[in-house]
Every structure is written in structure tokens, then in C-alpha cells.
């Protein structure tokens, strides 16, 4: 019995050890449970004030406590947010309300709003990369488009 359990744990650890290559900082890793408050990213430097305003607008909505914003070269803008745990019951409502509010205030942008943790995590990772190394505009835009595409995937 014990031997079998050992074998099970051993085979499990072999399976999982292959995945230790992602080099996240402790802040990124803990972004599931903590407020990480990433800086909003603007592909164009002139949009920096705009992304700040978008973030403020999103944070003003009841229930939302953490927001990541990425504004692309053209109209695209990604807003990923986290809600307080007990507010998850009305997450869809909050998402609708946020989209409505953003579209009202920033009429000429096209928003992708997501409550998915993966999208938030990728935004935090991109933010970290932007802060660490000087990413070119094209790379930022490419990553943004990849994240937007990921957020649209259903299956």
C-alpha cells in the first residue's frame, strides 16, 4: 500500500517537474490572492494619461478592487479586473456595467473587458516585462493582440 502511494507521488512529481521554467516574480505569482495593482500600459506614450483615467473609471465601480489596463496603438483597449470574492456571484453584471461605463466615457475606443484571471495574469506579466526591459512598440502591440485573442477563446 505504501509502496503504491510512493509510486503515485513519484510519478506525479515527475509529471509536474517539467513545468518549473516560467520565471515569474513573487508578486506575479501571488497576484491570484493579493492586490497587485499593475501600472496601466500604453503602447503610445501620449496615451499615458488616458490609460490612467480608464483605470480610475474601472476602479470606481462597486466590487472591483484590482484593474489592469493595456491600450493598443489604435483603438484597442484591454481591461482586466478582479472582483471581491463574494461579488463573484454578480460578476457578469459588474462586467456589463463596466463595459457600459467605459463605452460612455471613452467613445472612440473599442474595449475588451475580461474578468478572467488568466487575462489579468498576462497583463501583469506584460507590465513586469515592460518595466524590466525596454520593449518595442511592435512587441507590446503584438502581445496585446495575443491576449485579446486569448480572451475571446471559448473552448
Amino acid at each position: 500500500m505504501e509502496k503504491r502511494l510512493m509510486l503515485f507521488i513519484f510519478s506525479l512529481s515527475v509529471l509536474l517537474f517539467g513545468c518549473s521554467t516560467v520565471n515569474d516574480t513573487p508578486e506575479t505569482r501571488s497576484s491570484l490572492v493579493r492586490t497587485s495593482n499593475p501600472n496601466p500600459i500604453a503602447v503610445n506614450n501620449k496615451d499615458e494619461k488616458l490609460v490612467g483615467d480608464i483605470k480610475e473609471t474601472a476602479l470606481s465601480i462597486d466590487g472591483i478592487y484590482d484593474v489592469a489596463v493595456i491600450k493598443g496603438e489604435a483603438k484597442d483597449c484591454l481591461v482586466a479586473f478582479k472582483v471581491h470574492h463574494l461579488e463573484r456571484f454578480r460578476m457578469k453584471k459588474i462586467e456589463k456595467q463596466l463595459t457600459k461605463e467605459l463605452q460612455k466615457q471613452f467613445k472612440d475606443l473599442s474595449f475588451t473587458v475580461s474578468s478572467d484571471f488568466k487575462i489579468f495574469l498576462e497583463a501583469v506579466r506584460l507590465n513586469e516585462k515592460v518595466e524590466k526591459e525596454n520593449l518595442s512598440k511592435e512587441k507590446k502591440e503584438k502581445r496585446l493582440q495575443e491576449i485579446i485573442k486569448l480572451s475571446r477563446e471559448k473552448t
Binding site: M1, L5, F8, C19, R29, D116, F117, L121, L150, T155
Partner: protein, 159 residues
């Protein structure tokens, strides 16, 4: 003989039986099932976040590989004989999550292995799990039908 017209001997025996019958510990079983089932689901959640962190899955798409992984785990545990003991201890707590489904498929496959691959494993694999698939698919169909009708009638107000 009808249900209500029992002989005096039968009634007496019933009384005797009730006196000596061991009571089922329903509350204890419920608590056991709650904690074991909860632990299995917590492991599933961990696997789901594992896929989100290390692979390109969103919260929505991570459920598919998570289910597959949980069934894989229950396959290993069934093969090693651990899941049987867990099932004895926790009852519904180990049968209701998807690992219980995996266990019912794999235990049937192991049991009928001696009868050959086609008629044995292939023919008997879904002996227990077949009803899960049948009624799962059927109830999904009914729910989807109701949803479609409601949306058609009320113009998508319930989406």
C-alpha cells in the same frame, strides 16, 4: 399478500427488527463526504490554476484539461487500489466529483480485462458509467432546449 394486511407474527418481527437494527450514521457520513469531496474539488481547483499559470489556458478553457487530469489521477488511484478504500470511507464524497466517474469506468475495465479487449474491456467499460453519459447528455439537451425556447419567446432577456 398486500402491504397492510400483515399477520401478527410479521408485525411482531418488524418490532423486533427495529430494536436490533443498527442505525446508519447519516450525519457522520455526510460530514465525511463533505470533507473528502471538498478536498477532491480543491485539488481540481489547484490543477486548474496550474494550467492557467503554466499553459495558455484561460479560466474558461482550463476546465477541459482539468477534467482529463482528474480522471487520469483517479485512474492511477483505482489501479493502485487506493480509490476503493477512499470510496468505502467517503461514499458520495468520492463518487459525485468527476473522479468517481473515472473510477467507475476504470474499475469496470479492470474487472473485465480477462474476457479480452473487445468483448471484455470494450463491451463492459461503460457498464456503470454509461448511465451517467446517457442522462448527462439527455439532461443537457433538455436544458438547452428550454433555454432556446425561452430566448426565442422573451427575446434574449434571460441571456
Amino acid at each position: 399478500m398486500g402491504k397492510n394486511n400483515k399477520t401478527p407474527e410479521q408485525k411482531q418481527y418488524e418490532k423486533l427488527e427495529q430494536q436490533h437494527e443498527t442505525k446508519r450514521p447519516v450525519l457522520k457520513n455526510c460530514i465525511k463526504a463533505f470533507f473528502v469531496g471538498g478536498t477532491i474539488c480543491a485539488i481540481g481547483q489547484a490543477v486548474s490554476y496550474f494550467y492557467i499559470y503554466f499553459f495558455n489556458f484561460t479560466e474558461q478553457t482550463a476546465s477541459n484539461p482539468t477534467v482529463a487530469t482528474m480522471i487520469f489521477f483517479s485512474m492511477l488511484l483505482t489501479g493502485f487500489g487506493v480509490y476503493d478504500r477512499l470510496g468505502q470511507f467517503a461514499g458520495a464524497g468520492s463518487a459525485v466529483p468527476v473522479t468517481g466517474f473515472g473510477n467507475s469506468v476504470i474499475s469496470a475495465a479492470i474487472e473485465h480485462r480477462t474476457e479480452g479487449f473487445v468483448l471484455g474491456v470494450g463491451g463492459n467499460m461503460f457498464k456503470l458509467a454509461g448511465s451517467v453519459i446517457l442522462f448527462g447528455v439527455f439532461s443537457a439537451f433538455v436544458v438547452a432546449l428550454i433555454k432556446t425556447i425561452v430566448i426565442q419567446w422573451f427575446g434574449g432577456g434571460f441571456q
